[in-house]
């Protein structure tokens, strides 16, 4: 069974590989589609590393700028999502190692980019899916009560296409074989938290 992605964005490895090859040949529209399809993955890797907003933005940008530089150097186009996950992880770890994260909680003192929801999202939320939005918030609240390891794994999976354990393993520096069982454990724990919080 194939579940529809959030925006029906095509994200299977084969399509991604084709987009990448077209972009490498100079197709700007293909590059845009690639950025749109894989940005949630890069963003979720950044989020999973718990960087402040400012640091997270920088890691995200460096990752994509690098991919643009490497367009004609990546030999396995269908593995570009794994390349992005690995690159984003490395950038995040370097930022953390640099020690320029001053103190935990410093994030709030950085310039925050305000609510960036698209007009469409706002309309959908207000008119059509107030109940769904509420469900999202409850789910999110339960998610935030999970332990660090589960939060990190699930945050990466949220930004990835379904069943992309390879990307998650690359993003977190874990063995691919450990992702499935860990995911199952974390989702089970999430269900418990949801039911405790009077969830759906």
């Amino acid at each position: 069974m194939t579940l529809p992605g959030p925006r029906e964005v095509i994200v299977d490895h084969e399509s991604i590989g084709r987009l990448f090859q077209a972009a490498a040949k100079g197709d700007a529209a293909a590059w845009r589609s690639l950025v749109e399809a894989l940005s949630p993955l890069v963003w979720s890797v950044v989020r999973a590393h718990g960087l402040s907003d400012a640091d997270g933005h920088e890691a995200y940008q460096t990752t994509w700028f690098r991919l643009a530089q490497h367009l004609d150097r990546i030999r396995e186009p269908e593995r570009v999502s794994t390349w992005l996950a690995t690159t984003a992880r490395n950038e995040c770890r370097k930022i953390i190692r640099s020690g320029r994260k001053l103190v935990v909680g410093e994030a709030d003192t950085f310039d925050r980019i305000p609510d960036e929801r698209t007009p469409e999202t706002v309309v959908i939320e207000s008119e059509e899916a107030a109940a769904e939005a509420e469900r999202h918030r409850r789910l999110w609240a339960a998610f935030q009560q999970l332990g660090d390891k589960c939060q990190r794994l699930l945050r990466v999976l949220m930004g990835s296409p379904p069943h992309s354990y390879q990307e998650a393993a690359a993003a977190l520096g874990l063995q691919i074989g450990s992702i499935g069982p860990m995911r199952q454990r974390c989702l089970r724990r999430l269900r418990v938290l949801m039911s405790e919080g009077g969830g759906p």
Binding site: E36, W43, A68, I113, A133, L139, L157
Partner: protein, 147 residues
């Protein structure tokens, strides 16, 4: 339970898209990176970074040491930050006078490398950073790093 797991994960995916989406300005900057590529420049890849996992030796005083190579030419860079302001000291190998453009995500600064290939640039902001080096033989472009 696998299908239930898939559904719950998909709910999380949708929730993330509503509650923690990729900031639109960031997405735009990634899209723009395509047109901002220097197609004529040769890529100098990052060959050493004192912040890399493998680099067990940490340089003292918060100085980050980076090395880039395009095969024929090397660019060495020392980067340090004091009170949020970055200072870069670099050298081109083999040495030659060159024009160096230090680029961030939305700014750039031109400096000169002297006859020994040395250059400096101060007052840098943190964030993505790349150098364009115009040598007699052609132009080099270093891989992006996060300064």
């Amino acid at each position: 339970m696998t299908e239930d797991d898939d559904m719950l994960e998909n709910d999380l995916r949708r929730a993330a898209e509503f509650l923690d989406p990729v900031p639109a300005a960031l997405l735009d900057s990634a899209v723009a990176a395509f047109t901002l590529r220097s197609l004529d420049a040769e890529l100098a890849t990052l060959t050493f970074d004192s912040l890399a996992e493998a680099a067990a030796v940490r340089s003292g005083g918060g100085v980050r040491v980076l090395g880039f190579s395009s095969g024929e030419h090397q660019v060495e860079v020392e980067l340090s930050f004091t009170d949020g302001s970055g200072r870069l000291v670099g050298a081109v190998e083999p040495p030659e006078p060159a024009e160096v453009v230090v680029e961030g995500a939305s700014w750039s600064r031109a400096v000169r490398a002297d006859a020994l290939g040395r250059f400096t640039c101060a007052g840098l902001a943190s964030g993505p950073l790349s150098l364009r080096v115009r040598l007699a033989a052609g132009e080099l472009r270093t891989e992006w790093i996060t300064a």
